[in-house]
């Protein structure tokens, strides 16, 4: 039934075009970042910690831009270089068109398009009466309709995504490891669950509303609230509640700290007990604590909507999420500890025979399985609600 509709073709073409555009942009972006990485790869004399961009960031960018910044170790602590995107304001104005964005906003909308009239349209056309005149139970009818329509939607989507990934995997400079494929598998599974949630919401509306059009409108409202309003509001709230000093203030404190210590030392004040690196470490840890508090609060409050859950889950599965950034930074921190006492040149850079920073993303960065499973459970719970409600209301549905 669904296959012959014009809507099916339109949506399919649209989805393919969007996914292709997204993959192309993200692949080229990755190549750019790889080029930059090659240029920046530190020489023997530099104390710079640099992490290679992850191939999986083509699919979901997450915070990879932040992970792959060059971190220079100086006598003042760790200094992060600007990312390449800092030069163009529009990068921060708009969202990244990666798979996460496409799935969480565009595809969830498409899922609604497939299901908003599953029940109400058959009622409008009067075909329901004929179906129910046979001795088929209502549960069977709705299950069959639901699965049939959902498969029609999800199979082409999954195939398009899989083809895209297969093409990207063949590209030069791209290397997906076993862990990546495992992550991609989990990403596909969670995508199916996530889209099924929106599909069921459409179904529920189509059961509740007498007319298809009202069903679509209500579904759209719910979509807007779940996809835009709740996640963005929680982000605003978490920003407010954290109460931690801002980036600007912490940066200022770090600057004031080292300059005053140097002053004290030169002029022999206070017996010069203060140490530049110690104080930097303290300030840094204090600030990091605030950030982490905000992150954990945000991760919790993101459970308020399926899109929030998915937004944190997808980067985690592609190992470019917040917890992966934390482990990458830990590695940088360890490296800093190992070289911090080296002598410095007049530029403040550490010199001498320094150990090189080595970091193997595949070995050292793992999927945060605890939060991933929590997220999957959360998504499943979100799925159960509209699904059970649809079944319940369908059993009382009036076909006239």
């Amino acid at each position: 039934m669904s296959l012959v509709q014009s809507r099916f073709i339109i949506i399919l073409i649209f989805v393919s075009v969007v996914i292709a555009t997204g993959f192309f942009s993200m692949y080229r972006d990755y190549i750019k970042r790889m080029e930059n990485y090659e240029i920046l790869t530190p020489g023997k004399e530099d104390a710079i910690a640099l992490i290679k961009p992850a191939s999986s960031s083509i699919l979901v960018k997450g915070v990879d831009e932040s992970i792959c910044r060059p971190f220079s170790i100086t006598f003042l602590g760790i200094d992060a270089g600007s990312g390449q995107q800092s030069i163009n304001w529009l990068f921060s104005l708009f969202q990244t068109p990666d798979l996460l964005f496409i799935i969480s906003t565009v595809l969830s909308l498409c899922a609604l398009f497939f299901s908003y009239d599953l029940v109400s349209r058959e009622r409008e056309e009067g075909t329901f009466k004929y179906i129910m005149a046979n001795s088929v139970s209502r549960t069977t009818v709705i299950t069959a309709k639901l699965l049939g329509a959902f498969i029609c939607f999800i199979v082409p989507v999954v195939i398009t995504m899989a083809i895209g990934i297969a093409i990207i995997a063949q590209m030069p400079q791209v290397l997906f490891t076993e862990t990546d494929y495992w992550g991609i598998f989990l990403l596909f599974s969670s995508t199916i669950i996530y889209l099924f949630i929106f599909f069921s919401i459409g179904l529920l509306m189509s059961v509740l509303m007498k007319r298809s059009v009202s069903s679509l409108i209500l579904s759209l409202f719910i979509w807007t609230v779940l996809v835009f309003v709740i996640p963005q509001l929680t982000q605003s709230i978490s920003k407010n509640l954290a109460g931690a000093p801002s980036v600007a203030q912490s940066e200022l404190k770090q600057n004031l700290s080292w300059a005053s210590i140097v002053f004290e030392r030169i002029n022999g004040i206070n017996g010069s007990q203060r140490d530049i690196q110690d104080e930097w470490e303290q300030l840094s840890m204090e600030f990091t604590r605030g950030q982490e508090e905000r992150c954990s609060r945000l991760s919790k409050s993101m459970f308020a909507s399926p899109t929030g859950i998915f937004t944190l889950l997808a980067p985690n599965l592609m190992r470019v999420g917040l917890s992966q950034e934390k482990s990458a930074k830990n590695a940088v921190w360890q490296y800093y500890k190992s070289v911090k006492s080296a002598p410095t040149n007049s530029d403040g850079m550490l010199v001498g025979n320094l150990p090189r920073f080595s970091f193997d993303r595949n070995q050292q960065v793992t999927i945060d399985s605890q939060s991933a499973s929590m997220a999957l459970i959360g998504l499943l719970l979100y799925l159960i609600v509209p699904l059970t409600l649809s079944f319940y209301f369908f059993s009382k549905y009036d076909f006239r």
Binding site: I10, F14, V18, S25, R28, K32, N36, I39, L40, V63, S66, R69, G77, I78, A80, G81, S82, S86, I87, N88, W89, L90, F91, S92, L93, F94, Q95, P97, F101, L109, F113, S212, V213, S214, I217, T224, V225, F228, V229, Q232, Q235, K239, N240, V247, A248, Q249, E251, L252, N255, L256, A259, V262, F263, Q291, L298, G308, P315, L322, K329, D347
Partner: protein, 482 residues
């Protein structure tokens, strides 16, 4: 026949139909509730930002009072930019800092925060489409279109009436929202807006009106072009997705493909080398030559004298008073060497970063042009520019910081000369009193400049409106009402 009376009636009827609709009630309620919550939260955030700003100023002043010295002076007097007055309605769309801190994570790049602009740009535009997708096809399906047009009613007149009536209905919740937000802003004691602020607010409001009418027209056109409402809404939603989500988001990536920008970090590193080690080497070798000259001429060990602590130097000068003049002269020559070297190296570094800057500007410009194909982006450019949170903000801040730096450099030079006159042993590492230093005061762009910057985007929105309206009229004239 009296056309103006007719049109009034059509408009009236259109408004009544829309108002009595379920989608109007739900939509308006949703929008107004969301905007109230969003503005309350962003106002709280603004308060936090203000506190943070004052805290920063305070710690800076305290440090200056205790530790100010010329050598590392720029760590003490870095200008601090206050939060934007507009942040309760338009959030700054930039990472907290420009990513230059190790501890800063990418959390803000994952999800954006909700403000009035996003509510208008995304939620209300969607609502506009929901109001209009069946304005024509719905009437055809109900059969009322046939009845209406069987009278002596010109088609353009009917469409005009429908357009005006429909646009007014989508404007209603938007205007209510603006009104409620304005009251919230007025009631908040931390928000002190003057006329120019309210003028910006008003213009942002007007931009929203034009923007919403545009999306109403998109829906109306789709409802004329497609036979039934089901297809109409699908097509209009696709257009919405392309305009609001696809074009803007891909634009910077596309522009980055077309205009390459050299590696930012590499240039930063190179600049640091040129103005750091290389400069120090030049200073060192030149200073050595001068010191040797002095050693030969006056038969002293200038380097050792300079290395002595300030107290020891003072003692030395009281023992041999003629040293006072010599040291002063030597110091001023050494100072000149430093200034010259700085000037020279800064020039080299500048030419390096100039290329980067030009390239970045080109890339940003191209991505802005690509993004302007979407009315959503144009709307964002108008609102962010009007609220001094836009494309020019960073450049404006930099310019003002630079101007301040120049003023401060002059001031410091004067201070230094005064201090040296009073005390021959004064050097770059001695404490310097900067209590009367000029303060950095951030000046937002003037309202007329802000308006000027947005003219092209207003043009784009209006042209979009005009084209859509024209196509709608043409299409409706040939419309088959059966």
């Amino acid at each position: 026949m009296n056309y103006s009376r007719l049109i009034k009636e059509i408009v009236f009827k259109e408004i009544i139909t829309n108002l009595s609709n379920l989608r109007f009630a739900i939509g308006s309620l949703l929008i107004i509730l969301t905007s109230v919550v969003a503005v309350l939260i962003t106002s709280l955030n603004y308060q936090e930002e203000l506190n943070d700003y004052h805290q920063s100023l305070k710690s800076q002043d305290e440090a200056i009072a205790k530790y100010a010295h010329l050598n590392r002076i720029w760590s003490f007097v870095n200008p601090i930019v206050p939060p934007s007055d507009f942040s309760p309605i338009v959030q700054l769309r930039r990472a907290d800092s420009s990513d230059s801190m190790f501890e800063d994570n990418g959390i803000s790049s994952l999800i954006s925060t909700l403000d009035l602009i996003l509510i208008t740009g995304i939620l209300l535009s969607l609502l506009a489409i929901l109001f209009s997708y069946d304005s024509v096809s719905g009437e055809r399906e109900d059969g009322t279109l046939k009845l209406v047009l069987s009278n002596h009613l010109p088609r353009p007149l009917l469409l005009t009436g429908k357009w005006i009536g429909g646009t007014l209905t989508i404007w209603a919740p938007y205007l209510i929202m603006l009104f409620v937000v304005a009251i919230l802003l007025l009631m908040n004691p931390t928000i002190q807006w003057d006329e120019s602020h309210w003028l910006s607010f008003l213009l942002i409001g007007v931009a929203g009106l034009i923007y919403l009418s545009l999306f109403y027209l998109v829906g109306m056109l789709c409802s004329i072009l497609s036979r039934n409402s089901g297809t109409s809404i699908l097509i209009s939603l696709f257009i919405w997705v392309v305009f609001v989500l696809v074009i803007p988001n891909t634009s910077p990536f596309l522009a980055a493909q077309l205009i390459e920008v050299p590696s930012v970090f590499k240039i930063e590193k190179e600049t640091r080398r040129i103005t750091g080690i290389e400069r120090d080497n030049i200073i060192r070798s030149n200073s050595k030559a001068v010191i040797r000259q002095y050693d030969d001429r006056y038969n002293i060990h200038a380097e050792e004298i300079l290395r002595l602590s300030q107290e020891d130097q003072k003692r030395l000068i009281t023992q041999t008073p003629e040293l006072d003049g010599i040291i002063r002269k030597l110091r001023s020559e050494l100072n000149n060497i430093v200034t010259e070297a700085n000037k020279h190296q800064d020039k080299i570094a500048e030419s390096l970063s100039e290329n980067l800057r030009l390239r970045s500007i080109q890339q940003t410009k191209l991505s802005t042009q690509i993004a302007s194909l979407s009315p959503y982006a144009s709307f964002l450019f108008i609102t962010t520019n009007l609220s001094d949170n836009g494309l020019n903000k960073a450049g404006n801040e930099n310019r003002q910081s630079e101007a301040y730096t120049n003023i401060l450099s002059e001031y410091l030079q004067k201070k230094k000369e005064e201090a040296q006159k009073a005390d021959a042993t004064f050097n770059e590492n001695s404490y310097i009193d900067l209590k009367d230093k000029p303060r950095f005061i951030y000046q937002p762009e003037t309202i007329s400049d802000r308006i000027k910057n947005t003219t092209s985007y207003w043009g784009i929105l209006i042209i979009f409106n005009g084209v859509l309206l024209l196509v709608s009229f043409i299409a409706f004239n040939r419309y088959d009402i059966r």
